[in-house]
């Protein structure tokens, strides 16, 4: 894998994290922890994987990215800004009255937002229909559903998992963010979802499990999906273990919470830590290139 490809995604992930921190600070709150954790996945998708036209969000040929977890919208808006779908300046309206960027992702508000998430366990069911419909219309676009490990609690996710395999939706990919955390605490203590690899495999999916904060590993997983993708093959799932607050040590080390409190004076520290990590990574890369 080319170093420039990896660097491109990592740099995009850094900017997505920075945008997310900016939105969180303006609003004084937000699901910043999740956005930071998912930034590498979103960067891989929006700068390396998905086909789309930034100025034409309804273009028929686009790959469909369906965000189930509406509260991750802060991360997706950041990815939209990185991808040129929404202007960077607009991010500061996040969560404000009359903004196109509400706290929970809604298709009727935001260009590029394919579905209204938020009520968990919906996205994969819609993705199944989307993939069926595109195939019926002869449109080879891919459908990617981003869901969280918390959504594996919902029975509808498994209805959809069985349906996708039954209908052999080879152009459907599920990306599961396993941050091992949900509203009431660690997933293991709320409703045990492991062993997740075996569950998806038993439903008839091609399964990979990767470190979702390791860009080369993510790209390799997406490449493997692309190599397998067939019109009537098995659907694919990439199970991504991620870290809430990734890239900002202050938040990575904080007691994990679904809704992370960040004090007013801490935003600057978060930004500095993120920038510091990015600088260190850039220097390592330059040294390696010498």
């Amino acid at each position: 894998m080319k170093a420039s490809r990896i660097a491109g995604v990592e740099d995009a992930a850094y900017r997505i994290r920075r945008y997310a921190l900016g939105m969180g600070e303006v609003q004084g709150q937000g699901y910043v922890g999740q956005a930071l954790g998912a930034a590498d996945i979103l960067a891989a998708l929006y700068t390396d994987q998905l086909t789309f036209r930034p100025a034409e969000p309804e273009w028929e040929g686009r790959d469909r990215f369906l965000l189930s977890t509406g509260h991750y919208a802060i991360g997706l808006y950041a990815a939209f800004a990185e991808a040129g779908i929404v202007p960077v300046e607009e991010l500061e309206t996040y969560g404000s009255d009359d903004s196109r960027l509400p706290m929970s992702g809604m298709s009727t508000y935001t260009p590029g937002m394919e579905i209204s998430g938020g009520s968990l366990g919906h996205g994969l069911t819609v993705a199944v229909g989307y993939a069926l419909g595109l195939r019926a219309r002869g449109n080879p676009a891919r459908v990617v559903n981003f869901l969280s490990d918390g959504e594996l609690d919902e029975g509808s996710t498994w209805e959809a998992a069985m349906g996708a395999a039954h209908h052999r939706l080879g152009r459907l990919t599920a990306v599961v963010d396993i941050n091992a955390l949900q509203a009431d605490g660690p997933t293991a203590g709320v409703l045990r979802t492991e062993p997740v690899v075996e569950k998806w495999a038993a439903c008839g999916w091609n399964v990979q499990r990767v470190d979702g904060n390791d860009v080369p590993a993510l790209l390799a997983a997406f490449d493997a999906v692309a190599a397998q993708a067939a019109d009537d093959g098995a659907p694919s799932v990439i199970l991504c273990d991620t870290k809430v607050g990734r890239g900002v040590p202050l938040l990575e080390e904080r007691e994990k919470a679904h809704f992370m409190r960040i004090e007013e004076h801490e935003w600057a520290i978060c930004r500095e830590q993120l920038d510091e990590g990015h600088r260190a990574r850039t220097e390592t890369r330059q040294e390696a290139a010498l």
Partner: protein
């Protein structure tokens, strides 16, 4: 379980035995048409390639099997998974198709509400929800009797609700449901469905109520199969020298207040008739419209009680809960004093 609603004497003769899932509410010898929904959808699909049919393991029981036979490549079996059924229907609509998704009304309204609400109604997608066994059209018991589906669905923004009377209504409604922009819910009558409205000067128009017959003494406002009963009761009441008007309101939401309230402006006895609990359905739709327009007056509700209903044979149950022609006639005569 008893509801205490069995106030009339039991029908004479041997006890009717069937509490089967699929029962007919057609009267003996009544003219019927087989599978009007399935046939109408198959016909529409010939003209519109966007039409697709989905079901949750109830294709044969919602007449969608007719469509499956004529258009197998546009028929999608989603399994006994109603959340998937409606989520997938939303996805198909987003891909540019016009889905008709069938299941029983109880499962659409009770199991899959969140999916219909957020994935279909909020983005105002053209998904047509088709629910079998509405109200009291099965004697199978509360698990399958959708006595409160309209009450559940009326609160959902953007959703058009249609309660057809017969095969004529259904055949004419299907293309209009497909042509209307947002989502719709059709209270399906399946199998051999009575054909009644072709005897009147009538055409189904989405969103419109129609006066089927005039009458000086009483005005019956009805939807669904109760319009058939209202027409029968009106004939029977003529023999008692009671002149009865019948207003059919197949679209329950948006409701044609103009037509209905104009009919309720006088001092005729006003009665609503619905195959649904008296909570949250046609009666309350009419009552709220009257109050909102300052036209408050007495309205007699004929409908199902606010109760879980008994299992049993449909004719027995329609008699027991007051939906039969004879019970309607009795009630109207009693109200007239």
């Amino acid at each position: 379980m008893t509801t205490g609603a069995a106030t009339t004497t039991a029908p004479k003769g041997p006890k009717l035995k069937t509490s089967a899932m699929i029962a007919s509410f057609a009267d003996p010898g009544q003219r019927t048409i087989p599978a009007p929904f399935g046939n109408a959808l198959a016909e529409l699909a010939e003209q519109d390639e966007r039409i697709v049919g989905l079901t949750a393991d109830l294709g044969k029981y919602t007449d969608l099997h007719i469509f499956a036979q004529t258009h197998p490549e546009r028929y999608f079996q989603m399994g006994m998974a109603e959340q998937l059924l409606f989520g997938a229907a939303a996805g198909m609509a987003q891909a540019g198709l016009v889905p008709f998704a069938t299941t029983y009304s109880v499962f659409a309204a009770r199991r899959a509400y969140d999916f219909i609400c957020l994935d279909i109604a909020e983005p105002e997608l053209n998904v047509n929800i088709v629910g079998g066994l509405p109200g009291l059209t099965t004697g199978y018991g509360p698990s399958h009797q959708a006595t409160e589906d309209v009450a559940i669905f009326r609160g959902m923004p953007n959703l058009t609700i249609v309660d057809p009377c017969d095969a004529v209504d259904i055949a004419q409604a299907v293309p209009q449901l497909a042509a209307s922009k947002g989502p719709t819910y059709l209270r399906l009558l399946r199998g051999k469905v009575p054909s009644v409205l072709d005897e009147y000067d009538y055409k189904f128009e989405l969103g419109k109520a129609k006066v089927l017959r005039g009458g000086r003494d009483v005005v019956l406002v009805s939807s669904g199969l109760m319009t058939m009963r209202a027409l029968q009761a009106a004939e029977a009441l003529a023999a008692h020298r009671v002149d009865v008007a019948v207003v059919h309101t197949p679209t329950l939401k948006p409701f044609d207040e103009e037509t209905v309230l104009a009919e309720l402006a006088g001092d005729r006895l006003a009665v609503t008739l619905e195959n649904h609990t008296v909570v949250g359905g046609l009666f309350e739709t009419v009552a709220s419209a009257l109050v909102r327009r300052g036209q408050a007056r007495r309205v007699v509700p004929i409908g199902l009680p606010d109760a879980f209903l008994d299992a049993g044979a449909l004719p027995t149950l329609h008699e027991r809960y007051g939906l039969s022609k004879d019970r309607i006639v009795e009630r109207v005569l009693a109200e007239l004093g």
